[in-house]
C-alpha cells in the first residue's frame, strides 16, 4: 500500500489520503434549529461508514474512476464514492 501511495503522490495525482479509526473512537456533533447535540460513537444506526479518503488531482471524472479499482484492491471488499470537489480549495478565498 505504501509503495502505491508514494508512487501516486509523486506523480502529482494524489494530494492527500488517510484512513479513519473505528467510529467507537469518534463522536457526532449535530446542529438542529440552533440546538447542539453531541453523541459518542459507535454509530450503530449508520448503514455505511467511511473508513478512509483520498483526494485526487486528475483531468477528468473518468480518470478519477480509473484509480478506484487499485484503491479498492488495497482496502478490501467494499465500495468507494467518488465526488468532485470545488476547483478552488475553500481555504484560498
Amino acid at each position: 500500500m505504501g509503495a502505491y501511495i508514494q508512487k501516486l503522490a509523486k506523480s502529482g495525482v494524489l494530494t492527500a489520503t488517510d484512513g479513519l479509526l473505528p467510529s467507537s473512537l469518534g463522536a457526532k456533533v449535530r446542529l438542529s434549529s440552533g440546538k447542539l447535540t453531541i453523541t459518542d460513537g459507535r454509530f450503530t444506526e449508520a448503514k455505511e461508514l467511511i473508513a478512509g479518503f483520498a483526494i485526487l488531482n486528475v483531468e477528468s471524472e473518468a480518470e478519477a474512476i480509473s484509480h478506484a479499482p487499485d484503491f479498492l484492491r488495497i482496502a478490501g471488499d467494499g465500495e468507494t464514492e467518488i465526488r468532485r470537489m470545488y476547483d478552488t480549495p475553500a481555504y484560498w478565498s
Binding site: 484512513g19 455505511e48 461508514l49 467511511i50 473508513a51 484503491f71 482496502a75 478490501g76 467494499g78 465500495e79
Partner: protein
C-alpha cells in the same frame, strides 16, 4: 479537477446485529401503550395518539417477527384494547368500566383484527405466552353474547395460567375479580386477602377499589365506603377519583347505585 474518493468497506456495511427476540421492544411498546391506555396522571383518561402509535409499531413488528407467537399476542391485545376506546370515556370525560361499556361503540374491525392475531399466535403452537393469554382474556368479552355474560370461569382459568407463567399481584387482583364473578364475591375477597400486603398493590388504588366493589356486593356498605374513599385518595387520575367518590356516596344511599343505568 479535484475529486475526493471515500472508502466505504463492506465490513462497515453489515446491517448490525441480528434483530433481537421481540421481547425487549415488545415490552417497551407495551409500556407506551399502557401509558396511553390509562394515563397515570392528568385529566385525560387515555392518550389515544400514544396507543395508535404503539399499535402501528406492533403491526410492523408482527410482520418482521411473524414466527414469534408473542408478537401476535401483543398485537392482539393492543387491537382489542383499542377497540374499546370510544366506549371507554363518556362525553363528559368520565371513564366507563369494561362491564358498563356500550358494546355498540366497540370497533368491530379492530376486534376482528385482534381475534385474527390471537388465531395466528395459537396457530404457531406452543404454550400461550403472557400477551397471548392477556389477549385471550380480552377476547372472552368480545366472544360473549352480551356484556354480563362472558365466560367468567374461563377468564378465571386464563388468569390462573397467566399467574403461573408471570406471577404478579396485579394478575392476582384481576383473577380475584374474575373469580368473584364466576364463584361469588366472597371467593374473590379470599384471593384479595392473599395479596393485601403486597407492596406494589399498596401503592395504587386498584386493590381498595376492587375490595370496595366486592364488599358492596356482600352488603358490607360501611367497609365498602371506607375502601372507595381510600381508593379515591390514592388515584392520581382526576376522573377516576370522581368515579370512586361517587361510589363511596352510593354506600350511604345504595339505591342510587345502578351500574347499568346511564349516569
Amino acid at each position: 479537477m479535484r475529486f475526493m474518493m471515500l472508502m466505504i468497506p463492506d465490513v462497515y456495511q453489515k446491517p448490525g446485529p441480528a434483530p433481537a427476540l421481540p421481547d425487549p421492544r415488545a415490552i417497551a411498546e407495551m409500556g407506551v401503550f399502557n401509558e396511553g391506555y390509562a394515563a397515570t396522571s392528568g385529566s385525560a383518561w387515555m392518550r389515544s395518539e400514544l396507543c395508535d402509535e404503539a399499535l402501528r409499531l406492533g403491526r410492523v413488528l408482527a410482520e418482521l417477527a411473524s414466527a414469534e407467537p408473542e408478537v401476535h399476542g401483543l398485537v392482539a391485545l393492543m387491537e382489542l384494547q383499542s377497540s374499546r376506546f370510544r366506549a371507554r370515556v363518556r362525553a363528559d370525560g368520565q371513564p366507563v368500566l369494561l362491564l358498563e361499556q356500550n358494546r355498540a361503540l366497540w370497533d368491530p374491525l379492530l376486534i376482528r383484527r385482534g381475534l385474527a392475531a390471537i388465531d395466528r399466535a395459537s396457530g404457531l403452537g406452543g404454550d400461550r405466552g403472557n400477551y397471548t393469554l392477556q389477549a385471550s382474556i380480552a377476547a372472552c368479552h368480545d366472544r360473549a353474547p352480551s356484556a354480563d355474560e362472558p365466560d367468567w370461569e374461563e377468564i378465571s382459568a386464563l388468569y390462573a395460567q397467566l399467574g403461573r407463567i408471570a406471577p404478579s399481584p396485579v394478575v392476582e387482583l384481576n383473577r380475584a375479580v374474575a373469580v368473584s364473578m364466576a364463584f361469588g364475591a366472597q371467593a374473590g375477597l379470599d384471593i384479595l386477602d392473599l395479596v393485601a400486603d403486597d407492596p406494589v398493590l399498596r401503592k395504587n388504588h386498584y386493590l381498595p377499589s376492587v375490595r370496595g366493589d366486592l364488599l358492596f356486593k356482600l352488603g358490607s356498605l360501611e367497609a365498602a365506603r371506607a375502601e372507595f374513599e381510600r381508593a379515591a385518595r390514592m388515584t392520581r387520575n382526576e376522573r377516576e377519583r370522581e368515579l370512586l367518590l361517587a361510589r363511596a356516596q352510593t354506600c350511604v344511599s345504595p339505591d342510587e347505585w345502578l351500574p347499568d343505568s346511564p349516569r
